[in-house]
Symmetry: C2
Subunit: 182 residues, 2 copies
Amino acid sequence: MTSTLGFAILAVLARGDRTGYDIAAGMRRPIGFFWTAGHSQIHAELQKLLAAGLVGYEAEHGPGPQDKKVYHLTDEGSAELRGWVTRPPKERPERDELVLKTYAAWLAEAGLVRRMFADQLAAHEARLAEYEREEAAFGGPPPFGDPRFGNYATLRCGLGYERHRAEWCRWMIDQLGDSESL
Amino acid sequence: MTSTLGFAILAVLARGDRTGYDIAAGMRRPIGFFWTAGHSQIHAELQKLLAAGLVGYEAEHGPGPQDKKVYHLTDEGSAELRGWVTRPPKERPERDELVLKTYAAWLAEAGLVRRMFADQLAAHEARLAEYEREEAAFGGPPPFGDPRFGNYATLRCGLGYERHRAEWCRWMIDQLGDSESL
DNA sequence: CCACACTATGTCTGAAGTGACATAGTCGTT
DNA sequence: AACGACTATGTCACTTCAGACATAGTGTGG
């Protein structure tokens, strides 16, 4: 009964051996914009994966009170991951604070709501520009089977998401527009 | 220190008095596609809101061992909600299982991945059709200040999201396309 | 030579969220 | 008259997650 976080870790390890620290660093945004976790969670999860025999590690001398542990996938871990990839994802409930605020926006002053959406729009446009730069660095999609295909495909998703979100913000600002106050 | 769930409840109550049961029912998808919660969580949260003086209730005789409690916003609750609406939302980390699977998709058979995306696409198209029917029922956006503005604006967001998602699924299927297997 | 940032592992507390269990009245159907 | 669906409130156990605390070596810059 590996959790989704467990599979996220396995997915990272499938691309190369890493320490818990490296996994956590790789999951910090904006690099890993589809799953995040603090290092405390990752260390705990690694111990579960270890107990389940899905990962192993080589201890090396490193900084800190404990040895540095370089984790790798076992054959069982690799098989588990491969099986998981094509199983239909379970629906996660949407929990979006901005949309919730929008639901209640009719209670507030139009000018303040407009300002909030303008800030959101700016943030989305900044991220969009960043993703577009990243996309340009790929010269088109890598072939399926290349690990970089995964990076490119998730980037495409992020790109589409930011565009949708920015467009919605613009629509909201339009709706609120021409309200005298700001 | 009201939680976001607390504000979700206040936002629902701002539109009319309701029992805990009604709030939970209203938050079941697909009606409330921006925040969901089980009834157990809602009853617990209502007690916190009550202790904080943000809501009150009238007990009526109803089914079950306890009285039925019809909750309403207090003036403090209304003020709290109004203040919260235009405060910038805190960034929630994205946690998207399908995107995570995509990141690891290079490990799996193209045919199986394609099948998974075809299923996802079908689900998005079904929801899109449903939202489009709902949108048609509005004859254009209600004016800001009308509670129905909130419903329409969130619907627009959902519409944009489903379109973006469906497009991305189509792109993925295209990438995997012409692979012999299925 | 000292301070600071970075690498690196881990524990603990508490909040948030999920699903099962418990209880019981009303209303419509068979 | 019995059965099931719906209304209605609540508890409990469990998992997930976030953030603080604890410890300590290495490398860089002033």
